[in-house]
């Protein structure tokens, strides 16, 4: 049954497709029993001309079998309160889709693609979430939809790993975050013709390029380059600058109670 649901994408109705740019889904308040809260925010449906009294809902999936629908107000007045999700089986990736249904009807007139909620620990450029990764500790995913963000995914089999990396453990933080940034930047400079999406507002490439432009003086010259090695070297320099600004070196020494030898 789950496979059928994933395969079916068509609809006989004249449905409008809602872009990821026009809403946010944030995961809040994970509890020890595996329940969590979701908040749907920044809903902007002005481009779609839906009736103002049409009803908004979000379908939440976890894994391939858990599914529920949450009503979240109307197009005119979306509800802002977070809601709790309590699935019987707590395993699997969480994905959400928002839907528009006319008042007193059941057929959708607008749906989004499925998207992963952004964790409240979001670092801005990355979507951070957890799922069962088997024996892998973490993974980095480039989205196929440019309006979504690259994802840093932690293994939910390791208790509190997400908080450990994001907030507490500087060694893990300094290892994982620059690696993700490097992988993402390398994707931007090398993928396809190179630098795809950096001028397009609302794409993750545009967001990341702003990050680079704020730190590197030569963003315009690297745009002209067709030399793969030069591009990779440029990415490495950017990550070095970022790491320098974050003072990773000093913070790690402090966390290990090692005093730097001033003679070196």
């Amino acid at each position: 049954m789950a496979r059928e649901r994933q395969r079916l994408q068509y609809t006989p109705h004249d449905i409008k497709h809602i872009s990821h740019k026009h809403f946010e889904v944030t995961r809040l308040n994970d509890s020890p029993n595996g329940n969590f809260k979701l908040e749907i925010s920044n809903i902007d449906l002005d481009d779609y001309d839906f009736p103002l009294d049409a009803e908004l809902s979000v379908i939440v999936k976890q894994g391939s079998e858990n599914l529920r629908t949450q009503e979240i107000g109307t197009v005119r007045n979306p509800l802002k309160d977070a809601f709790e999700v309590d699935f019987e089986n707590k395993k699997g990736q969480i994905t959400c889709r928002i839907n528009i249904t006319p008042k007193d009807e059941t057929a959708f007139i607008g749906i989004s693609d499925w998207r992963h909620p952004t964790h409240a620990n979001n670092q801005g450029m990355l979507e951070i979430r957890d799922e069962d990764l088997g024996d892998m500790v973490w993974n980095f995913e480039i989205p196929t939809d440019n309006s979504a963000k690259p994802a840093l995914v932690f293994n939910n089999r390791i208790p509190d790993i997400m908080e450990l990396v994001i907030q507490n453990n500087i060694l893990l933080h300094a290892t994982i975050i620059p690696t993700c940034l490097k992988l993402g930047m390398e994707h931007i400079v090398l993928s396809g013709e190179g630098f795809e999406g950096i001028d397009e507002e609302g794409t993750w490439q545009n967001l990341w390029w702003q990050f680079a432009a704020d730190r590197m003086d030569d963003v315009h010259s690297i745009l002209e380059s067709e030399d793969r090695e030069e591009k990779l070297s440029w990415c490495l320099d950017l990550i070095k600058k970022f790491s320098d600004h974050q003072q990773y070196h000093q913070l790690i020494l402090e966390s290990l109670n090692i005093e730097e030898d001033e003679d070196e």
Partner: protein, 267 residues
């Protein structure tokens, strides 16, 4: 009369060993490890003491409903989600629930997700003919527990949950509970159980039937009886969920119309 208790880890392990040793064997009363029920070494009181009440019931629904109404306000998260209380209750009611031989451990000890639960690993590592490793045990199997399953069915579906019972009696899990209870997405939408009830439930025989009087539980999609049946209805609903908001269906009539002639003929 004494109080309801919950098996501790030692009690659970002992009960699990008993079930493993007697897999597919007949069990007589003298073999039952009933000493686990009241021995402090193997079991303990609930956090809110509850007297055992006399209960007479004809099916698992009535048993689950009884315990839901009696216990649900007083159980801790650990008691509700753990294995100890439910295993204790299954052992307490073993004679009521036990068929000639027992086949599946989860009828007596609720098995959640494979890596969860005190003794689940024991079953994963059990002898080959009892192994759960090859049965795609990804979703919780707690719906198969004779008491916990119906405790939750009643919580979710209210009195409609009676349609999930096996027509063969209280000792059987039944195909309807299996075909509906094991599907997590399906249980989230109350309208779907209402739909199945209106399409298939025959109160006289307490079973699922199609309009032509034949059984509605054919599972093979290549079988003639599949069309218009429960499995086929599940597949059609699954597709319709891409197009319709199932929270907004208040009555089954409109949904049956959308499902087409195949199902209108059953109603």
């Amino acid at each position: 009369m004494s109080n309801i208790r919950k098996l501790n880890e030692k009690g659970l392990r002992h009960f699990a060993d008993f079930l493993l040793e007697h897999y597919q064997k007949e069990i007589n009363d003298s073999q039952l490890p009933t000493f686990l029920l009241n021995d402090d070494e193997f079991s303990e009181e609930l956090s809110v003491p509850k007297k055992i009440k006399e209960v007479s019931c004809n099916n698992r629904f009535e048993l689950g409903k009884h315990y839901y109404n009696y216990l649900h306000q007083d159980l801790t998260e650990e008691e509700l989600e753990g294995q100890g209380l439910w295993s204790w209750l299954a052992l307490f009611h073993f004679e009521l629930l036990f068929a000639r031989t027992f086949l599946r451990v989860e009828y007596y000890i609720p098995l959640g997700a494979p890596k969860k639960g005190v003794i689940n690993q024991k079953f994963l590592n059990s002898p080959k003919n009892f192994s759960y490793e090859n049965v795609n045990w990804q979703n919780p199997l707690e719906y198969r527990h004779a008491i916990k399953g119906y405790f939750h069915f009643y919580k979710t579906f209210g009195d409609n949950a009676v349609i999930l019972c096996s027509s063969s009696g209280i000792t059987y899990h039944g195909d309807v509970a299996e075909q509906i209870g094991g599907i997590l997405w399906l249980k989230q939408y109350k309208i779907i159980l209402d739909l199945f009830k209106s399409l298939y439930w025959d109160a006289d025989s307490q079973s699922f039937k199609k309009a032509n009087g034949k059984g509605a539980l054919t599972t093979s999609s290549t079988s003639k009886g599949y069309l218009g049946g429960l499995r086929r209805a599940r597949a059609v609903i699954d597709a319709l969920m891409d197009i319709h908001n199932f929270e907004k269906f208040k009555k089954t009539r409109h949904l049956i119309e959308l499902m087409g002639d195949e199902f209108e003929a059953q109603s």
